[in-house]
C-alpha cells in the first residue's frame, strides 16, 4: 500500500489523514470522535486521493459496509484496497463539539449496533470496547411522524426540506453516491430543478433517498454534512425499515449479498398494487 487513510489529531478534534510516510503512521488515532466515514475517499470520483497510490483505509464496522457496497457495485476491486478495521464502541454525533461519549451525545445510529466487529477487514486493531450507550430516538421519531395526519407530516417535511440550499453536501459525503454524472446535475432534460425551491427540493430529496434505498449503509454522513440540519437520517432509516420488513434485507459487509432494488422475488409483497 502507498497511502493509509485514517484519522489524526487536528486543531478542532480529529480529521482525516492521508499517510504516505510510514513514520507519520504513529499520528493515527481512533476513538469516539472518529465519526467520519473515510470510505468516500475510495470513490473513483476522488482522483486527488487515487493519485496518492494504492490505498489502505481505516474503517469502523459500519464503514466496512460501504467498502462492501463499492465492491458489490463494481466500483472497487476488493484486492485493490487494504481494509484496516477498528473495533468500535460508538461515536459521537458531532465530533466538533469535543464532548465525551454519552447517551446525550452518541450518534443516533449507534445504539443497538450489530456491526461493531469489522468482519470484512484484512487487519483488525484494538480490543472490543464496551457497547455504545443506549438511547436512540430515531425509530421513535419515525413512529411519531407516522402517527401524524398526512397534511401535518407534509407540512413538517416541507419546512425541513424548505431549508435546503441544494449544496449537495449530502451527496458528496455519501460513500454510496458515486455516479460520475448525477441526475440532479442533468439539464437536458432537467429532472431535478436546481434552484432551492420547494419543487426541486422535494424532487432532490426523494431522488437521493430512493437511490439509497436498500443501499444506504447508515453511516450518517449525509445528515452530518448537511449545513441546515435536515434530518436525512430519518428518510434513510425509514427506507431501511421497508427493506428489512418487506424484503428481509439488512445492511451487510458481505459484498455477495445483492441489494434489494437490484434483485426481486416472484412473491414479493404487493398489497399496494390493485
Amino acid at each position: 500500500m502507498q497511502v493509509v487513510i485514517g484519522w489524526e489529531e487536528g486543531p478542532r478534534g480529529v480529521r482525516p489523514a492521508f499517510v504516505t510516510d510510514p513514520a507519520s503512521a504513529r499520528g493515527l488515532v481512533f476513538d469516539e470522535r472518529c465519526t467520519q466515514n473515510l470510505v468516500p475517499y475510495l470513490s473513483p470520483r476522488r482522483t486527488h486521493v487515487a493519485r496518492l497510490g494504492r490505498p489502505a483505509v481505516v474503517v469502523k464496522g459500519c464503514d466496512a459496509r460501504a467498502v462492501a457496497g463499492l465492491v458489490r457495485e463494481t466500483q472497487l476491486k476488493r484486492e485493490d484496497v487494504v481494509v484496516i478495521g477498528v473495533r468500535c464502541g460508538g461515536v459521537v454525533a458531532d465530533p466538533t463539539s469535543l464532548e465525551a461519549l454519552s447517551p446525550a451525545t452518541v450518534s443516533d445510529r449507534c445504539p443497538g449496533c450489530t456491526a461493531r466487529e469489522p468482519h470484512l477487514a484484512d487487519h483488525v486493531v484494538g480490543e472490543m470496547p464496551p457497547p455504545p450507550p443506549a438511547g436512540s430516538r430515531r425509530d421513535a421519531r419515525i413512529a411519531e411522524l407516522e402517527k401524524m395526519e398526512p397534511a401535518a407530516r407534509w407540512a413538517f417535511w416541507q419546512e425541513e426540506l424548505g431549508r435546503c440550499v441544494r449544496c449537495h453536501a449530502c451527496r458528496e459525503a455519501c460513500p454510496m453516491c458515486f455516479c460520475e454524472r448525477c441526475v440532479a446535475d442533468k439539464t437536458q432534460p432537467q429532472w431535478v430543478e436546481s434552484s432551492p425551491h420547494p419543487r426541486g427540493n422535494f424532487a432532490w430529496h426523494v431522488t437521493r433517498a430512493l437511490h439509497q434505498a436498500g443501499r444506504c449503509i447508515d453511516c450518517g454522513e449525509c445528515e452530518r454534512a448537511c449545513p441546515v440540519d435536515i434530518p436525512l437520517g430519518l428518510l434513510n432509516r425509514k427506507l431501511a425499515q421497508v427493506a428489512s420488513e418487506q424484503f428481509g434485507h439488512v445492511p451487510t459487509d458481505d459484498p455477495a449479498v445483492p441489494s434489494p432494488v437490484g434483485a426481486f422475488k416472484k412473491d414479493d409483497p404487493q398489497e399496494f398494487i390493485l
Partner: protein, 164 residues
C-alpha cells in the same frame, strides 16, 4: 372528451397515467374500442415497460400540475421483458412508503396491474382513482408554482389551469 366530465363538481382532477405498452396500454385501448364509458380525467403516457418508469416521472407529473398519478403494467409473470415489472414492484414499494412518509396522501398515487384483456378493470382503476383524487381536492402543495407546460386538452382546460 369533455362530455363525460362531471359538470356538477367544482373541481375536476387531472391525472397522469404511466402505463406499459404491452398490457395496460393495450387494455386501455380495448376499453376504448369496447366503447366503455369512463372518467375523462386521465392523460396516458405510454412507456415500454413499468421497469422504465423512474419514480422521478411521478414527482415530475405532480410538479407540472397533475393532481393524481396512475402507474400500471403487466401482471407478475406476464412482463414482455420477463422481469421489468418485478423490479418496478420493488422500486415502487420503496417509493410509495417514502412519499407517504413525506406526507403525500395515500390516494394520490394508484398502482395497478391491468392486462391487455382487462379493459373493464382499466375502467374501474380510472374511475376509482379519479374519484379518490376528486375527494382529496387539487394538489396544491406548491401553491402558485404550477408550471404552464402541462399539456392541456382544450382551450377551456388551459384557462382552468391558468386560473389555479
Amino acid at each position: 372528451m369533455h362530455a363525460t366530465l362531471d359538470k356538477e363538481s367544482p373541481f375536476e382532477p387531472r391525472l397522469t397515467a404511466f402505463v406499459c405498452n404491452w398490457c395496460t396500454y393495450t387494455g386501455a385501448d380495448l376499453a376504448g374500442t369496447s366503447r366503455l364509458q369512463m372518467d375523462a380525467n386521465v392523460r396516458i403516457v405510454r412507456l415500454p415497460c413499468t421497469g422504465r418508469i423512474d419514480p422521478l416521472f411521478i414527482v415530475k407529473a405532480f410538479e407540472r400540475g397533475a393532481d393524481g398519478v396512475i402507474v400500471s403494467g403487466c401482471h407478475p409473470a406476464d412482463c414482455h421483458y420477463t422481469s421489468g415489472n418485478y423490479h418496478a414492484r420493488r422500486r415502487f414499494a420503496f417509493f410509495k412508503e417514502l412519499v407517504e412518509f413525506l406526507g403525500l396522501p395515500e390516494g394520490r398515487i394508484t398502482f395497478s396491474w391491468v392486462s391487455a384483456s382487462e379493459g373493464q378493470k382499466w375502467r374501474e382503476v380510472v374511475n376509482d382513482a379519479t374519484a379518490r383524487v376528486r375527494a382529496l381536492g387539487p394538489f396544491a402543495a406548491y401553491p402558485g408554482t404550477a408550471l404552464p407546460s402541462f399539456p392541456a386538452a382544450s382551450p377551456a382546460d388551459a384557462a382552468k389551469g391558468a386560473a389555479r
